[in-house]
């Protein structure tokens, strides 16, 4: 198992550090106490700027149908994230849904969907720290959404639209989206002086762990997108 393999290569300090990062990282919600004030403020500024831009550019008053789907999708992602699959050894896995939101609603509405979910999780349930809300929105509502959407569009452009290519696009989008979001998370906590491990530990651990577990995110994303494309293709706004 992961724990046993690591003991062959690293000393206890790095083992504990890596495992602790993994534990926090797979839930992807950074708690309070991990980011220093510089990173906290910087990520708040980046996220607030992008979300403000998305609200302005989304032209919500002209897109009531998409707004309606945003509400349902945000509720669905919130519920899906509560299905927290615990893995033996103390870590856990849950669907994040950023790529799915980007693929279904497009990058602007997709980011607004995840930003709504992450903000409610933080403010109402203290899932993710208030000092880390900017970083959590950046990782899950911006990076995951934009990467997922972009990869899906690239795959469909290259292979053409079909049920199979939609699965492939959703799979690659979901997988890479969560992996890059995990790496971003590793950079943020690794560069924070308050966290005792540098990016040379946090980035590989977060990146590799999400690269492995992200396969499941990719499969779920691909399956949902291909299923919806058969049952109700109009729901995939990014293809309109």
């Amino acid at each position: 198992m992961f724990y046993v393999n690591f003991t062959n290569f690293v000393n206890d300090k790095y083992l504990y550090g890596a495992l602790f990062i993994v534990k926090r990282g797979t839930s992807m919600h950074i708690p309070d106490g991990y980011l220093d004030s510089t990173w906290s403020i910087a990520t708040y500024i980046v996220s607030a700027t992008y979300i403000g831009y998305a609200i302005k550019k989304a032209e919500i008053t002209k897109n009531l149908e998409r707004l309606s789907l945003l509400t349902v999708l945000a509720a669905g992602i919130f519920a899906a994230q509560m299905l927290n699959w615990p893995l033996p050894g103390g870590t856990s896995l849950h669907f994040v849904g950023g790529a799915l939101a980007g693929i279904l609603l497009g990058p602007l509405f997709g980011s607004l969907t995840l930003a709504l979910v992450v903000t409610i999780q933080c403010l109402v349930f203290h899932d993710g720290g208030i000092t880390a809300l900017g970083a959590n929105i950046l990782n899950m509502a911006i990076i995951d959404v934009l990467v997922g959407y972009t990869m899906y569009k690239i795959v469909l452009k290259a292979l053409g639209p079909s049920t199979k290519t939609r699965f492939i696009g959703g799979f690659i989008g979901g997988w890479l989206g969560i992996t890059l979001a995990g790496i971003a998370c590793g950079v943020e906590i690794g560069l924070s002086p308050s966290f005792p491990y540098g990016v040379y530990i946090t980035v590989p651990v977060m990146g590799l762990w999400h690269l492995a577990l992200g396969v499941i995110e990719g499969i779920i994303t691909g399956m949902v997108v291909s299923y919806l494309s058969m049952k109700n293709p109009d729901i995939i706004f990014s293809e309109r």
Partner: protein, 95 residues
Amino acid sequence: MLLKKHWILIILLILISPLFGVVLADMVGYHEPLDVAAEKLGLKDISDEINWSPFYDYSVPGLDPITGYIVSGFIGVGIIYLIGSLIQRIAGKKR
């Protein structure tokens, strides 16, 4: 749109969520051993110290963990629905 069907699916997801978030977590010992490892390192999650929410970690005061998890799910989805409906109403009027 097939939204009604989706709301039913969301309700079902919430109802089964404690199986994963509470029951299985207890079975595999979700809080161990990594919290112990963190303590050995001197790492500190300060969430408890600055908590502001009565629904911390999807629990509800006075309810057992399973019921609290389900009620938390409905609270979260209810808030999302209210916010979405409010924005829709405002956006509809501005149209």
